[in-house]
Structures are given as C-alpha cells and as structure tokens.
Amino acid sequence: MGDLAGRVVIITGARRGLGRDFAKLFAADGAHVVLADIQDASAATQAASETGPRCIAVQTDVTDRASVDALMAATLAEFGRLDVLINNAALWREPESYGILDCPLDVWNATWAVNLTGVLNCYQAAVPLMREGGFGRIINVSSTASATGSNSYGLSKCALELMTSGMAREVGKDAITVNSIVPGICAFSGAKGQLPGFDQILARIPLGRVGSSQDLYAAMAYLCSDAAGWVTGENMVLDGGLSTR
C-alpha cells in the first residue's frame, strides 16, 4: 500500500505552494516527478530531486494543448511512461477576490481556462500514455469552495468534481482511476501571512487545526496505490470535519 517507488508522476502548478510540497513528498516516496508550471520550476525541481530520484521541470501552459502535448513528449522522452497525473494548477487568489456580480470577464474566462480547460488538456493528453502503460491514476485537486457558488473559483471547482465523475466513468475500462481531493483550509510549508479572521476559522474546524501538504499527500498516496485500485469517481474531502458543522 502506498508504494510509489519508480512511478512517473506529473504535477501541474508545481513551482510553488501545495504543488511544490507535493513534488517533494512524491519524490521522497521514490517517484520520478515531472514539475509542470507556467513559470520556471527549476528551483522546486532541484528541491524535489534532493529528496529522491531524478525529477525534471517542464515549463507548461496548461491552457494550450500544444504546450501540454510537449509536456507529455518530454515525460516520455525522459522516463518512458506516465503513471500518475496530479491536476493541481489553478487560478485562485484573483477569482476569489470577486463575487459573481463584480467579476471582470477576463478573470472569469481565465479561471475557466486554467481550472477546467487546463484539466481537460492534461486529461486528454495523458490518457493515451496511461492506456499504453496499463496503469493510470488521475487526481484532480478541488477545494471545499466547490460547495458554495460564491465566485468563479468555487464554481470552477464544482464543475471539476462533476468532471471527475465523468472521467471516472469514461476511462474505468482502461483500469485508470480518476478521483478528486477536496481540501478545506490547508497551509503549504512556508506559507506567509494569515487569512483574515484566522482564529475564528480555526475555532470552527472540529479537529482544531488547518490541513497540511502532508495530509493531502497522504490521501493522494492512498489513491495512487494498488490498494485503491477500485476507488474511482470519488471526491475525497479533507477538511478536519469543517463540513460536518
């Protein structure tokens, strides 16, 4: 269970934040990680490689199918196959700063382009490689913001969870599983500053703490394992019980 040694894992949006932590954790567990990011992720790649096997950075614009195809080609050239795709890249801060009424159209469009079209491109490009290899695990990183329709970010994550179901149904026959993790309030390592009203938020989380990159990684390690080979289409909420209140 949780055996990731030698697996080839693409993580999008891996230059910083949670994606960067995920890359280090997958590498520490023995996986080759391909760090895809719209900007240069070589520093994060260096950090991941220090903890485990060889990792590479591939600068990728997930909204551009040609760029995503180049990511897959680079992965194949370097490691010869693809086992796991973590769709982590997303626009977050700016879309969450507007409601629906005030959301500028360019922010709205950019949110859907990255958070959904980006996933679509990576999914369409990755599945043939996974079919070839006879093993596949796709994990979409959603958010508990999906439960509210307050802004374009939450709406895009709501669509992503439903898309997860559709993908799961579609590629099940290829023994590829597709699941989402749905983080609540989580902090990546080295996160600066605090959310406004942090103490009140903390008081509402039943388990009394925010989540960590490690919490999210652990769920992904389970979902990527052979032992979770019959789990698909699941949206796994990791929120310390907040949604039960």
Partner: protein
C-alpha cells in the same frame, strides 16, 4: 507491503489496537486480518461463541495478535460486556471498525415489520451501541481514536429496491457518522464511513443462472469492470485507521469501482 520508512509511517498501524465487529467471515474477516498485518492487535467478534476462533488462529499463524470474543450487537448488555473485555484485552482501543450488519431482502408491500425492525436493530441500533461504548472508552483514555463505520453504496444510490430497509439503515449510519465526527472531534476521535459497492466474497453459486444473470448485469454498471474484493475494503479501512488520514473526519468514502458516479 511497504517500501520505505516514510510509507510505513503513513499507513502503518504498529502498536495500535483495533476492534472489528462481525469478523468471523466475509469483509470483516479480511479487514481484521489486514489490520493485523499492518501491525495492529485485533479483537474479533462473532455472534456465536467461538465463531471467530478460526480467524484468530489465522492471524496468529501470520504472526499477528488477535483475540476472539462473542458479541450480539442488538443486546446492550452484550455490547457493554464485549467492550469491557476488549478494552481489558487490548489495554486501550485505538480503532473500531463497525462492520457487523445484516443484509436481508424484502419487497416493500410484503416485508414484515419484523424484517424492518431486525435490520434496524442490528445495523443502526447495534452500531450506535458499539460506537457509544467504544467512544466513551476512547474519550476516557484521552488518546484519540478512529471509528470506521461500514455503510453501503445503497445508502446514497438505489441499487436494488428489495434492499430498501437495508439501504435506509445504511443512510442512517452515514448521518450518524457525520454527527459523531462533530461530537468527538475535540477528543481527537475521527469518525468516517466506507461505502462498499458490489463485493464478491466468493460465496456466489456460479451454477445459479438467475444469480449469474444479476451478477453480469451489475458488472456492466461498474466502470472499472470488476467486482470489488474484501481486500479493496480492507485497504480503505487501513487508510482511514492510519496516520495518512489524520485530517479526515465525518466523511463517507465510496469504494465501488465507480458504480455510483453520476
């Protein structure tokens, strides 16, 4: 099973203690064996005294530790005595898997009141009694804990109307899971449910034509194209019992090969 210390730390249960109710056969038996293989000392239960002795021996032969006790979850006195004995045997209860349950079929218009009551007495009232007694011990011992309720995919999607009473009982289990998670979070007791899809426990008669027809019809609806095995459910139980899931509570984990995906 694990390759690195990191993974052993993530999913390992060394030094932990667990109760698995209804573990003389089927899914419960495999959950108990795999929890023991992950390092936990396990208390087994069966309705008939001695019913789980063979499983205890199986675990011992694999190098694990297990104690078999008898338990009738419908009987409050039995539950109290069982939890008392289990606590004494284990010293502390870290993990409870509420697996004991029954699965009789009945048509809506002809099902007896007794049919409904028996299912609910076992699957809802019985689970509540075990949860109450064990959570009280966990709280008193102050070490936190994990409670895993075995529900069913039938609790969230209709699969077969002849299981209406069973499905209703499992829907109640899901709701109780959420409320218990909220009630016991401050004690660091996490409560989650596993919702298995169609599982092949190896007891189906392959010569029974009607059963095979049903079997194949179900198979066509599972995106991953196979029935689940008790091992699939045990793996989810290990995940929910292990350090890997320390931020997850009040959740229902569907393990069904994609059967219920919309």
């Amino acid at each position: 099973m694990a390759t690195t210390d990191f993974v052993t730390g993530l999913f390992g249960l060394a030094g932990k203690t667990a109760i698995v109710t209804g573990s003389s056969k089927g899914i419960g038996r495999v959950i108990a064996i795999e929890l023991a293989q992950a390092g936990a000392k396990v208390v087994l239960s069966s309705r008939t005294p001695g019913g789980a002795d063979a499983v205890a021996k199986e675990i011992a032969d694999l190098g694990g530790e297990a104690v078999a006790l008898s338990l009738e979850v419908r009987d409050e006195t039995s539950v109290k005595a069982f939890v008392e004995q289990a606590h004494a045997a284990l010293g502390r209860i870290d993990i409870l898997v509420n697996n004991a349950g029954i699965y009789p079929a009945g048509e809506f218009l002809t099902a007896s009141t007794e049919h409904w009551d028996t299912i609910h007495e076992t699957n809802v009232r019985g689970l509540f009694l075990c949860l109450r007694e064990v959570a009280a011990r966990m709280r008193a011992d102050g070490q936190g804990g994990r409670i895993i309720n075995i529900s069913s995919m039938g609790s969230i999607r209709p699969a077969a109307p002849i299981r209406f009473a069973y499905d209703a009982s499992k829907a109640a289990v899901n709701r109780m899971t959420e409320d218990a998670a909220s009630a016991f979070a401050a004690d660091r007791i996490q409560v989650n449910a596993i919702l298995p899809g169609p599982i092949d426990t190896g007891r189906m008669d392959r010569n029974d034509e009607a059963a095979m027809k049903m079997h194949n019809a179900v198979l066509r609806r599972v995106p991953l194209g196979r029935y689940g095995t008790p091992h699939d459910i045990a793996a989810a139980a290990i995940f929910l019992a292990s350090p890997a899931s320390s931020f997850i509570t009040g959740q229902t984990l569907v393990v069904d090969g994609g059967f219920v995906v919309r």
